[in-house]
């Protein structure tokens, strides 16, 4: 099982100090947070995508390639990449490039985005959000698997003889998670392609996305990718940890009370009782996180939201120490002991190369010479017929 952190990239006033970090400070901080994630033994760092203040992460692949360069083992990912407002051609190119630079230590999670004004900024229509997401991914899926793509759809100009470059590292497309909590079509698409399915798990009641994950598992098996238990599931969660439970509650409360999503709303105690939020000692966070697999079945990736709501960098780094040193090692051990042996391994580049090629040669596409017209035609690579 993989453990990691995901960030929304919000730049939020610290309600305790009253200070709002500058964009420069917050961007510096996120790089330190990602490096810390690796240092404390976490597996994954993921960043969101937003195109309006108070968020900074408009260019996730730029950030993630920088983080990949500064780390050795960490998998960099997104939470989420907008499959609606980004041209799938650009996603294919940018994330393949990231995959090369990160030497395969990356994947991505696709989401639709629910901020209505963003759509027209990128020439899209939110009323078409779902068909747009589905069609864009159908194209993205082909761009990473076929050297030359002819394509025609409803939402973008047709492609004729298009080759997305660079080809994925080792000719193995990046692993894709599809994020959704209440859209069966997204679960269906994830299942159809044998991709991962991620539920952000921030809000409960959880019953309907328990059912959606079950649906994804059934359809994953239906399409012949493996058994229901072998489907690839990821979950979010959020925690604030202190050695002593009462300190965690005291320290986190002002941040909870003014958090952008649920602040000025429910009492923190009610929210803790009724949602996956854990605020407490390492043992309390462990106990709560261990209940997730009882609800959703064994899964491959657990992500925590740790750096939001104006928490200062120093606190976030301290949180990561506690998460990495006192929570995750216990969770790894406990989950390994309880996990169904049929459960799929979490996706890694090395594991997927092995699945695709076994011990055989790994394809490394080498392009043919430019014929002078910048159009490579039907066989752009030396090994393609």
């Amino acid at each position: 099982m993989q453990f990691g952190i995901f960030s929304v990239s919000d730049i939020t006033r610290d309600p305790v100090s009253g200070e709002t970090p500058s964009e420069a400070e917050r961007i510096d901080a996120i790089v330190q947070i990602a490096e810390k994630a690796e240092e404390v033994g976490l597996d994954v760092f993921a960043i969101g995508e937003h195109h309006n203040p108070p968020f900074f992460s408009s260019a996730p692949t730029t950030l993630l390639s920088h983080i990949a360069a500064k780390t050795k083992k960490l998998i960099v990912s997104t939470a989420t990449t907008l499959i609606t407002t980004n041209d799938p051609v650009r996603i294919a190119e940018e994330y393949a490039m990231l995959q090369h630079l990160a030497k395969g230590r990356m994947d991505l999670m696709l989401g639709r985005g629910n901020t209505a004004p963003v759509y027209p900024w990128f020439g899209a229509d939110i009323r078409q959000s779902l068909p747009l997401a589905l069609e864009n991914y159908n194209l993205l899926h082909r761009l990473w698997r076929e050297d030359v793509v002819d394509w025609e759809g409803k939402f973008r100009t047709p492609l004729q003889g298009f080759t997305s470059t660079p080809r994925p590292l080792d000719d193995l497309p990046p692993f894709v998670w599809h994020g959704s909590i209440r859209t069966p079509e997204i679960a269906e698409q994830a299942a159809f392609y044998g991709d991962g399915f991620f539920a952000n798990n921030i809000f409960w009641p959880k019953e309907h996305y328990i059912r959606l994950i079950e649906f994804y598992r059934q359809r994953y098996a239906h399409y012949g990718h493996g058994t229901e238990k072998q489907a690839i599931v990821g979950l979010g969660g959020q925690a604030y940890i202190a050695k002593r439970s009462q300190d965690a509650v005291k320290e986190f409360r002002p941040y909870f009370n003014e958090a952008p999503v649920y602040g000025h709303g429910p009492r923190m105690e009610d929210f803790m009782e009724q949602t996956p939020l854990s605020v407490g000692s390492p043992q309390e966070v462990i106990d709560k996180t261990l209940t997730f697999r009882e609800h959703f079945g064994d899964y491959q990736r657990q992500m925590f939201l740790m750096d939001h709501a104006g928490l200062p960098l120093k606190t976030v780094l301290n949180q990561l120490d506690l998460l990495g040193e006192e929570v995750v090692p216990v969770l790894r051990k406990e989950i390994e002991a309880r996990q169904d042996p049929e459960t799929a391994k979490p996706p890694t580049h090395a594991g997927r190369v092995k699945d695709k090629y076994g011990d055989g040669p790994v394809r490394q596409p080498k392009p043919n010479a430019n014929r002078g017209d910048n159009v490579t035609g039907g066989s752009p690579y030396q090994d393609s017929r």
Partner: protein, 222 residues
């Protein structure tokens, strides 16, 4: 053969006892009596919105549905008839009532029969039910009985109010016993708009035979 009906009273009255609740209880009592004459029984559940005020406010600002609210939603889900009663403030229904109904899934109350009732300190508010509340309940695709109930201070001494309560109660009984909701839901539930998990978390059917599902499985946009 007699049937058992579930009647849910939703009251936005804030004092105890409140005239808003009293008005709703009078309707519920008459509904029980009139249904009884037809050999039916009625079980009445009361949702006091006052007790849900914090959770309603939380749901409005954070989408978080607390346990009491979830319980109220489940109660309404099972209702065969609803009596919604509110005080009038500043020429409008109490925000407590409108906020509560605004939180509900659009398809939770489709085809359910409803009596609307309001209380006020002055007869000048008399048209609040017909002019304002009906629109909200029309949006929710409920079927509101023709007689609206309104009680200002002086109405409590006027036998006309009792007559109107009788009328509204009979209209509700007629709609409940006609099987209107069942017919609509059985035969055309699918033609209303739903989201996965809507209708209070019960709308969980997944239609694999749709254009979007075909698109999800790699097909053309159609």
């Amino acid at each position: 053969m007699g049937q058992n009906f579930q009647l849910v009273v939703v009251s936005a009255g804030t004092s105890d006892p409140s005239s808003t609740r009293l008005l709703a209880d009078r309707v519920a009592g008459r509904v029980t009596t009139l249904a009884g004459k037809r050999a039916h029984t009625v079980g009445t559940t009361v949702v006091e919105l006052r007790e849900l005020a914090t959770e309603i406010a939380n749901a409005l600002v954070s989408n978080h549905i607390g346990p009491k609210l979830r319980n109220a939603i489940a109660t309404l889900q099972r209702a065969d008839g609803i009596v919604a009663s509110t005080p009038v403030y500043k020429a409008g229904a109490s925000g407590l009532l409108t906020s509560f109904f605004q939180i509900l899934d659009n398809d939770l109350l489709i085809a359910k029969p409803v009596v609307l009732a309001a209380t006020a300190g002055t007869a000048r508010h008399a048209l609040v039910v017909d002019d304002q509340m009906r629109g909200l309940f029309a949006y929710l695709r409920t079927v509101v009985v023709p007689t609206s109930l309104f009680a200002s201070t002086e109405d409590w001494q006027d036998n006309g109010l009792n007559k109107r309560i009788d009328r509204a109660a009979l209209e509700l009984v007629a709609l409940m016993t006609s099987g209107f909701e069942k017919t609509v839901r059985d035969e055309s539930w699918g033609s209303y708009q739903h989201e996965y998990g809507s209708a209070g978390g019960t709308e969980l059917t997944i239609d694999l035979d749709s254009d979007l599902m075909r698109l999800a499985a790699g097909g053309g946009a159609g």
